[in-house]
């Protein structure tokens, strides 16, 4: 497939020029590095917007009783926090990393469809702004939860005027993600350096390839579901309206057919980055490269056939409950393979503990905890107790914050020196790590106890018996939130010059044995791989050669 890369029949107008001048550069850019930067900065901004909403939630829950906000606004905060973090922060951040890294790692000059790439980004901005605008509408932002379940979400009291805007925003975000996914697949299939076979690709590239297929399969399903909400509300259809012969539970099935793969869309690239960073700081090739690729594929496949573990309590037939219970448990197998491989990579390695590695190690430990609570909830009869309690909140925050978010931080520390040519301040990086790693546990661990004791999720007030752990959780939340300002400081400081020490092309010892980007100059020039590299590093795939 890649044998024809050398036959470019035309060149982009900007192949021989630098970027456009001034602000215009960022608006019209088709350069994968510029677009990557835009995605990453936008995601970082949304991380703080979504984070502020979390601070409102934790402030209100600091004590029992209603303190700061009214209940409808509180519910808008939980809904919008989730939507902003999922669609505005985590997903765009990984697309940003894909834009920067995939072409560099596979020896391609740019993404396959650069103009569409620009459009994906600006549609994302439009979608998120539209969503945010609902905060200022009569009746407030959507507040029925990020799952947008009918009939709740269709009731005037819960949505006011916001629903159609939220739905249209989902359409824009969906189209943006699908275009991004198409671009990633086309780039990986058609633009690889001729020397790079599929089984030579770094795992970050592999995990993104598989994630992109998940996106293409499930974003349209979500778009379909919310469109039917819209027609139910405004055009008198009754897809989900029992009074008209429809079925609200059908929405849950459609939503989770999207929703479960969606959580893997946020975790598979996480796995890819971890598999890329850990070998560099363990100074060993990745353990079990091929099994990592197969495990990623297996997780992606399984993610399509387990969705109803989110709805054990709707009253499915027993056979259905059993099927979804056992299918869900199967996911632990490939996930276990991965955790084993990361650990085995570190085993007897000459490890060093720079900030990116610290975040990766914390990820391996803390993500595994999220996996274990997942297994607990997969047991259908037991989930009847856990469902819709803080136990769920604890589970998915362990899989998202010390996993996806920590790995995004690790990626920032790992690649910023390459991108900017400047070294970040290691002392502040380590401080950021320790504050985050400790406070994230103070924040989320007690939520397991609250859930087991029966505290429901998405409620602004609670019984006094839950007071102590909520206060502790909130304190952890405030420390965690404040610590992230250190990351913001480090990013700005590194872009502006960092420690002042000039980084080498390799940045990290022997990194060029692991992946192609470290063979390029630091900072990475505006145009790279205009002629594809003749050889590709194979250290990371030693066991397959």
């Amino acid at each position: 497939m890649s044998a024809v890369v050398a036959e470019h029949d035309e060149h982009h107008a900007d192949d021989h020029h630098g970027p456009a001048k001034g602000l215009l550069r960022w608006i019209i850019t088709t350069n994968h590095k510029d677009i990557g930067t835009l995605y990453l900065l936008f995601a970082l901004a949304m991380f703080f917007v979504g984070g502020s909403m979390a601070m409102v939630i934790r402030a209100e829950l600091f004590e029992p009783g209603l303190q700061f906000v009214d209940p409808a606004f509180f519910n808008s905060m939980t809904t919008m926090h989730a939507l902003v973090m999922v669609f505005g922060a985590v997903m765009p951040a990984f697309v940003g990393l894909a834009n920067w890294q995939i072409p560099l790692m596979i020896g391609a000059a740019d993404m396959a469809l650069p103009r569409m790439n620009n459009m994906s980004f600006w549609m994302l901005v439009a979608g998120v702004l539209l969503l945010a605008s609902t905060l200022f509408m009569e009746g407030g932002a959507p507040n029925g939860g990020w799952t947008l379940y009918p009939p709740l979400v269709l009731q005037p009291i819960t949505v006011g005027k916001a629903l159609p805007f939220a739905v249209f925003s989902v359409h824009l975000l969906g189209i943006s993600s699908i275009m991004g996914a198409i671009n990633i697949i086309a780039t990986i299939f058609n633009m690889r350096a001729p020397a790079m076979k599929l089984m030579d690709m770094p795992l970050f590239v592999w995990t993104w390839l598989i994630t992109a297929f998940l996106l293409i399969a499930v974003m349209p399903v979500f778009a379909g579901a919310v469109t039917m909400l819209l027609t139910d509300k405004f055009f008198h259809t009754s897809f989900f309206n029992a009074a008209g012969g429809g079925d609200p539970v059908l929405y849950e099935h459609i939503f989770w057919f999207f929703g479960h793969p969606e959580v893997y869309i946020m975790i598979l690239p996480t796995f890819g980055v971890a598999s890329t960073i850990i070998p560099v700081f363990a100074r060993k090739p990745l353990f079990g490269y091929a099994s990592m690729v197969w495990a990623t594929g297996a997780i992606a496949f399984l993610s399509f056939i387990v969705w109803a573990h989110h709805m054990f309590t709707v009253g499915m037939p027993l056979a259905g409950e059993l099927y979804f219970m056992y299918a869900t448990m199967l996911i632990a197998v490939p996930t276990g393979v991965k955790v084993f491989n990361w650990t085995a990579t570190m085993w007897k390695g000459a490890m060093s503990f720079e900030t990116p590695m610290l975040f990766c190690i914390a990820f391996v430990v803390l993500f595994t905890m999220g996996g274990f609570t997942g297994l607990m909830m997969a047991i259908a009869p037991v989930d009847f107790q856990y469902h819709d309690t803080y136990f769920i909140v604890a589970h998915f925050h362990y899989t998202l914050v010390p996993a996806s978010i920590f790995i995004l931080m690790a990626a920032g520390y790992f690649w910023l020196p390459k991108w900017t040519g400047h070294m970040y301040n290691e002392k502040i990086g380590q401080l950021h790590f320790w504050l985050s790693a400790i406070s994230v546990n103070i924040l989320f661990f007690p939520q397991h106890f609250l859930g087991l004791a029966g505290m429901p999720r998405r409620i602004p007030d609670y019984a006094v018996q839950f007071a102590d752990w909520n206060m502790i959780s909130s304190i952890g939340g405030f420390i965690f939130g404040a610590s992230q300002l250190l990351f913001l400081y480090i990013v700005i400081d590194t872009i502006k010059g960092g420690t002042g020490e000039k980084v080498t092309d390799e940045v990290w010892e022997d990194a060029s044995k692991h992946s192609l980007e470290w063979t390029l100059p630091s900072p990475v020039p505006y145009h790279t791989w205009t002629t594809p590299p003749a050889m590709v590093p194979t250290e990371h795939v030693l066991d397959t050669h």
Binding site: L113, I178, I216, V218, P220, V221, M228, G246, F257
Partner: protein
């Protein structure tokens, strides 16, 4: 350049073909989801 699907297809054509195929897959998932709901 009239040979569209021959072996010596340019990278650019391949990219566009890949995009078209993937859009078709996305659309079919959309249609299946809605069709499933209508037939309930």
């Amino acid at each position: 350049m009239q040979c569209t699907l021959k072996l010596n297809m340019t990278t650019k054509n391949k990219n566009i073909l890949t995009a078209v195929i993937l859009i078709a897959i996305a659309l079919s998932f959309y249609i299946i989801a809605v069709k499933q709901a209508i037939s309930q």
